[in-house]
Amino acid sequence: MTIQVKLPTVLRPFADGRERVEVEPSADATVGSVFATLERQHPALRRRLTDDQGTLRRHVNVFLGDDNIRDLDGLDTKLPDGAELLVLPSVAGG
């Protein structure tokens, strides 16, 4: 099973400069298990998506297709093989 994670420009330095990171989580892939795999592959990237307790950072948005995972099942959102997650910063801050 392979999941793609597409990154905004600002996060690519934490993934060897790549726009897409390929992740192979366990058979029952969820957003959370993808992030757990990222922890091993790209810890500096994972830290910027989730906090010390594994919670998605407040101003980080992760989309599955057109859906924000917060509107699905959050980190428990199940992912089909070949799914692509799009990471985008929210419009926030001054």
């Binding site: 600002v10 500096a44 830290r47 910027r48 906090d51 010390d52 307790q53 950072r57 101003h59 980080v60």
Partner: protein
């Protein structure tokens, strides 16, 4: 040739000032860490070459601590991060407010103070830190409050000669001290008022804004509080007001001259409810008698009306001779004095809010 470095942490990045040892003419480069609030900076001059620190917080991507061994030309951090709460702590790092190298006889030891209120200790020169559990597990922690800026340990004062002793300050919560290397901690706020609590003389819960001490007088501590400027002459057992002679007892920073334990600097603001400089003037106040009398320092500071506060870590000294003094304002100006505050020059203007500054003369 010796040189001087000045780190300016702002709401939107870090600027680095460089000068020769005379510290009269500065060049700035930046911003580094664009869009990150740089709430803590540090200069570790103990090793063969100086190491710079920057603690940044991205509103999107969270906090991180970076270090540089080439005076800020490049920055590094471990992939797993420098500071992170273990799973059983049930907390996540929000911000690093203080990075403090230990005294010279403890090479490699660096402390950090963070939000939520936590103390961290590094033994690898500030690359990775471990949580000081003795303070994190303190029974008072659930009762530590939260100030306007968040709940954080913002001052870490290692004892200059005894590695087992240390003072930290947190907002809110007050001053806490250890005498056994961080295993146990007790509050040290006797005499400090907390007018905002039902009991104005609580054991803890005071809102200390900053602590300062001089290595030659380790039992003398100075504190700028949320309404109150204090001194302790017995290592923090009892505090007494030294605010007489100041135009206000409210303010954020307090620092001690690097060579004169009786010389101390503050930047008064009118009041809690009116946080602008007293008399609308950008003035640092200096005492040369441990707080008995105070004088405003004005020469070279702006003589136009000024409404910009100075935050708790935006006043600092270097260890040069004569001493350098630096102040950064919330309207993005930085002023430097190369003669202990007698005269000042403008180093920067129109930067974002200045959150923290640190300076060092390097040999």
């Amino acid at each position: 040739m010796s040189e001087a470095v000045l780190l300016i942490g702002t709401k939107k990045g870090l600027w680095i000032g460089r000068s020769d040892a005379g510290r009269e003419h500065w060049t700035l480069d930046g911003p580094h860490f664009e869009m990150q609030g740089v709430y803590s900076v540090g200069v570790d001059t103990r090793g063969d070459r100086p190491r710079l620190f920057a603690g940044g917080t991205s509103e999107h991507w969270g906090p991180a601590v970076f270090h540089s061994d080439d005076l800020g030309r490049s920055w590094d951090e471990p992939p797993e991060g420098s500071i992170g709460f273990p799973a059983d702590a049930g907390a996540s790092l929000e911000r690093v407010w203080q990075i403090q190298p230990a005294p010279a006889d403890q090479p490699g030891v660096v402390y950090a103070g963070a939000q939520p209120s936590s103390l961290w200790r590094s033994t690898d020169g500030g690359v990775t830190f471990e949580l000081v559990r003795g303070l994190w597990d303190h029974p008072h922690r659930k009762d530590w409050g939260e100030g306007f800026g968040g709940q954080a340990i913002h001052t870490v004062l290692p004892h200059p000669t005894d590695p087992d002793r240390m003072s930290v300050a947190m907002s809110t919560g007050g001053v806490y001290q250890t005498e056994d290397g961080g295993r146990t901690w007790r509050p040290a706020n006797h005499g400090i008022k907390a007018y905002f609590l039902p009991d104005p003389d609580p054991e803890f819960g005071q809102c200390v804004h900053k602590l300062a001490a001089h290595p030659d007088a380790p039992d003398r501590l100075y504190a700028q509080n949320h309404h109150g400027v204090y001194r302790s002459d017995d290592g923090g057992a009892i505090w007494k007001s030294i605010a007489d002679g100041l135009p206000s007892d409210f303010g954020f920073p307090i620092v001690v001259h690097p060579h004169e334990p009786d010389t101390v600097y503050v930047f008064p603001l009118i009041a809690d409810g009116n946080r602008i400089p007293t008399d609308a003037q950008c003035r640092v106040f200096r005492s040369r008698d441990a707080g008995a009398t105070w004088e405003p320092l004005t020469k070279g500071l702006p003589d136009v009306p000024s409404y910009a506060p100075v935050l708790r870590d935006a006043l600092c000294v270097d260890a040069g001779s004569p001493a350098g003094v630096y102040v950064g304002t919330r309207d993005g100006c930085v002023y430097a004095s190369a003669d202990a505050g007698d005269t000042w020059t403008e180093v920067a203007r129109h930067l974002p809010d200045v959150l923290t500054i640190r300076a060092a003369v390097l040999s």
